[in-house]
Each structure stands twice: as structure tokens, then as C-alpha cells.
Symmetry: C2
Subunit: 384 residues, 2 copies
Amino acid sequence: MTTRTERDQAAIPGSRPPAGDPDTPRTAGGRSMDGHAERRPVPAGSENPEAADVLERTRALVDPELRRAVDSLPGSMRRVARHHFGWEQADGTPAAGDAGKAIRPALVLTAVRALGGRRTDAVRAAAAVELVHNFTLLHDDVMDRDTTRRHRPTAWTVFGEADAILAGDALQALAQQLLAEDPHPASAAAAARLAGCVVELCAGQHTDTAMEKLGPGEVTLDECLAMAEAKTGALIGCACALGGLYAGADARDVDALDAFGREAGLAFQLIDDVIGIWGDPGRTGKPAGADLVARKKSLPVVAALTSDSPAAGDLARLYGSPYREGDLERTVLAVERAGGRDWAQAEAADRMARAMHELSRAVPDPEAAGGLLALAEFVTRRSS
Amino acid sequence: MTTRTERDQAAIPGSRPPAGDPDTPRTAGGRSMDGHAERRPVPAGSENPEAADVLERTRALVDPELRRAVDSLPGSMRRVARHHFGWEQADGTPAAGDAGKAIRPALVLTAVRALGGRRTDAVRAAAAVELVHNFTLLHDDVMDRDTTRRHRPTAWTVFGEADAILAGDALQALAQQLLAEDPHPASAAAAARLAGCVVELCAGQHTDTAMEKLGPGEVTLDECLAMAEAKTGALIGCACALGGLYAGADARDVDALDAFGREAGLAFQLIDDVIGIWGDPGRTGKPAGADLVARKKSLPVVAALTSDSPAAGDLARLYGSPYREGDLERTVLAVERAGGRDWAQAEAADRMARAMHELSRAVPDPEAAGGLLALAEFVTRRSS
């Protein structure tokens, strides 16, 4: 249904060949996170060796810290968390599941290095960010009633809603415990920043669920972008900022790193939303347009709905009533004709340009910035 | 149904006249928290002027910090939190609701003073403990499907489950943010201790919900006591320990303060469970024995069930099937005849004795210990 050429267009113009499957972020745009969960993993780094190298080194440094933290939990919550991370089956037997690519810890460690600090100093901070990410995933799955993540049943479907909520609560606590026990001089500032980020993530998730209940004409594009920034951009920005803090960077550079991560995160979200509509089901593992069928208000859809074009009216009518068999092609066409796809791709390119600008402010030396750049490209240049 | 004499027996032998309605803690023993919510407030301090004075001064010091923190939340979660604290109606109009008695913040400030520190130094820590307490209440109400708290509808019944979960998540984050931004030298140790306590609270709530699904013969008294300690004692102990940390006390004294709070918290829970069965419905605001009707495994019930007496068999048979009209009197009698009430009162007295012993270790001067003692008595010497 979707050609290779079309898929490539989903990437930012002038992109490198597409990279592997990125980590599963807290996606925005009202989209189910199953999309990520169901995408088939492509060997990391087959097309972005620098990012692959960074991710592999991150896993080697951060995984032991992460496992130590999770294994410190009392039995009940340890089981839920280990299952969620893909380390254990529901019955407690070991699993070699997909714990995600650890993009956020990699950003922490790469940012600390880019600012002249030592990766090994920031391992607890990197693990803390990953714990926060996974706490939000556990809770989002409960709220969104998502049933699969990373190719496995979500925690609440296996252990019940209460235990999934409790395991999430405990992971947030573990993240803060790691930072509170970290003797590094930046740990308190990092803890405060991470806590502030959690509040923003929660606000983003609130807006997302609230927007899903509104009619097609009741959401503005600015609201949708702000929600995506809070839900997806904030933690990616925070990861970069923590790296800056642990390198002893000044406040201006830390804020620039945060902005870099936010913009790159938003670029990722835009590309992800485009793929959700025009992606290749053979690679994404779910039917193209599943989000349209579910009448999700992803960024290209809201851009199309608010475009003041005849096709916007068609789309609003389609979105105004539940999906009917055979509507998909018309819906895809309406989004496209109303400019949703072009807008999303241009906006993604614009966001990446802004990200690059922020990065050059914090890390003027292109060589030092190389790792962060590679990660940003890894996250955004996807074709599936 | 219950005479005044009987009610007084619910207090620890040799008690002072009963004090006012205590704060609403995360109750254990598998009991609904509605019991607390529904109890009619008795003017604090009408019978314990020292505790009343401490609580009033705590409110004056901590409330501004607490309100500042909550008001820093984005609109959606601020609304949920302000409603939960009783400051606002569901429609956003002001309310003069019951935000609880702030026993835990009072313990932080009283402990810091008892160890020679300044109350004003520990205000953020006191607010952080109260935020954690309220985060757990918000989440517990979702998990337990409790519909009233502090005489008002619970947050999830008003704002939906998702927003109640998110507001709870945000309150936990705010608590850690307060400590991370606190320049006091003890703030990092306090943050680590509070985070560890959250994990324990979650484990306690998990065990509580798990125990409710077990049959009457499947829960041991030790398991029930351990659950109550995790769910109710841990945060009361942590509050006292944080006071010690902020006073610069040594590790041994901090641990003794923690143990004092835990034992006093457990004594409170035992008394609360006794009141739940033999309390005066005119004062508790709910029918005596509602927990028995709901077949809750409170501490006196589990003590009775595991007592190896003929009445234990009667109680197990009653608990083995759903409540039938008219069973209540037989159930109350079975718990009593199997020694559940006597055991709970003796155990509460024993726990209070242990609490006093721990307190005397941390604060040998009886005058300095007076405030903590008054609070412990306020919490445990209740008649309603």
C-alpha cells in the first residue's frame, strides 16, 4: 500500500538511510503506543554505526545500575518491573525481551561527554531518567488501556491495574533515590530538574487523554504541539540537560541542551505520526492508518483539520463519526490533501534545524557534538 | 450498640481522656479508608491541648509551603490536588474542607525540635512528607475504589481515574522537588529516606490488596502485622526520622525516631481496627462492623482467625462465605470470643510501650520528648 519511496519521504529531507527501530518513547498526538511496541526490531546501528556504538556502550554502563535498582524492590513490585523491562516472563522465568534502546540514558551520557565530563560520573543520573521513563510507560498503559508494549502484554494486563500503578510509583521513587544517594555535586539540581520534568510529563499525558475526548474541530495545532512537547520532548530534553549538569556546564548551556532535546523529541514525534499513517505495515507490524481508524488526533491530522482547506472539511466529517469499513483510503487522502503530511515533514525538518542550532550553542565544537547529533538522527530518521 | 465503657476500652489501658479525630493515615488491615473519611471531626485538642497546639502551629508553618507547591502544578493537576486537599470544590470554587490534621508534618517539626534543631529549617521536609502521604491516598483510592475521603467524593470519582493517578504522580514528584531544592545539608539524606519509604508504602498497599483476595485461613498474623507496618507505620516513622536528620542527629538516634514512629503507627492501626468493629456508629459515622460485613482482614480479625480456638472456627466459617443479613452480631461475637479484641488492645499497649522505649533512646530528656509523646497519644488515644 505504501511504497518505499513514500516511506523514505517520511524521513527528514536529505536524510541518511533509515536507522533501526528507536526506543519506545512516551508518544504524543493521542496515539497508542502499541505502534512502537509492534514494530519489528531492526538491528540497531545497521545504518547508524555511531549511534549504535553509543547505545551499546550506554547499555553496558547503565544496565547494571538499572538492574541493581529494580532488584532492590520488594518481591511483588520487582516482578512487575522485571517483566515490564523484558527481563522476566510473567511466571518469573528469565526472558531476553526488548527493554527498549535506552535512548534517554544514552543522551545523558553523551551530553556529559560532549560538555567535557565523564560518562561514568553520570551513570546513576542516566539510570534515573530511564526509571522515570518506564514509570510513565507503566502508568500510561493503565490509563490508555494499552495491551501490548515491546511485543509483550503490558504489566496491568498481566498483574492487574493496582500492581502496575504501584510498580510505576516505586520506579519514580527509585529514580529519586538514585539521585539522592549520588554524591556528585550536580545530583540535587538533577533531582529537582527531573522532578519538574515528571510534572510536565503528567500534564502532557493529561492533555493527551483530554484531547481524545474533544471533537475534531476543538483542538488547535498549538495545543497539539504543546502537548507533544510536554509528553515526548520534555524527558528527552531533561536527559540532555542532566548530562550538562553532570559536566558542570553553566545554566545557559544546560538550558540549550534541554531545548536541543525538546526540539529533537518533537521532530521524532512528527515523523512517528507520519509513519503511523503512511508507514509500511510490513515494517511497522500494524496496519497503516490504525491511528486514523481509531480517530486519533495525531499532529498531521490536527494540522490537516485546522488547515482551512476543502479537504479539512472532508476530514472533519470523517472524524466526526466512528470509522466505517472502507473509509481508510478516503481519510488518508483527506489528511494528505489538506496538507497534513507536508506540514508534518516541514515542521519536523524545522524542529531538527532548531535542535541543531541549540546544540551548536551548547557544544560549538562539531566533533564534541557528534555523538548527540548521531543520537538525534537515530531517533528521527526512521522509516518504519 | 456499643457502650461508652466499651469504647473507652478501645484506647490503651491507662489512657488519658480520648483525643480528637486523628489525621487520616494510609490505613492497613485491609480496611477501607472510608471509615476515617466518614468519622465526624471532633475539635482537635479538646482533650489533648498540647497536641492541638503542635498541630495548629504546624498548619501555620507548613500550609503556605504546601499550597505553594500544589499551586505550582499545571492547571489540570492543580485542580485535582486542590480538591483532594479540600481547598476547592470540584467546580473550582473555594472550599473550607478538611485537609486532614497534618500529623506527619507535625511529627517532622516536633522531632526536629526534640533533637535540638529549628522547626523552621524543616518546613520543606514536613511539606514533602505530607505530599507523599496524599499521593498515596490518591492512588489508594483508585485501587481500592473508595468513593469518599474526608467527607467528600474521592478524586477519581470526580475527575476520573487517569487524572487521579496523574495528580498522585505529580505530588510524589513535588515532594522530591521540595527536598532537592532545599539547601539544608540533610535534604539529600531525607530525600533518599523518603524515596525508600515510598517503596515500602507501595509494598504495603500491594500486600493489602493481595491479602484481601485470600481465604480466611491463608493469612498469618505476622504477615498482617508486617503489612500494617509497611502501609501505616513506615511513613509515620519516616516523618520522625526526617526530623532527626534535619536536627543533625546521629544515625542511631534517627533510626530510634523511625522505630518510635513505626511502633506508634502500628498502635494507632490496632486501635483503629478495634474501633472499626466496636466503635460507636454515632461518632464514627458508619455502622459498627462495616469492615466485618465487607469481610476485611483487619488485625483483630486475623488474630481471632489464627487463635486456635473454637470461636476461630466459627469466624472462619462466617468469613468463608459472603455476609448474610443478621450475621453481624455473630461475627462480632466470634472475633471477641476468639480473643481478637483482647489481643489487639494488648498488642497496641505493647507497641506503645516499645514506641516510648525508642523515644527515650533518641530523646532521653522527658521534657524535650513531650511534644512527640503528645502527638503519639493524640494519634492512638481515640474513642471514635
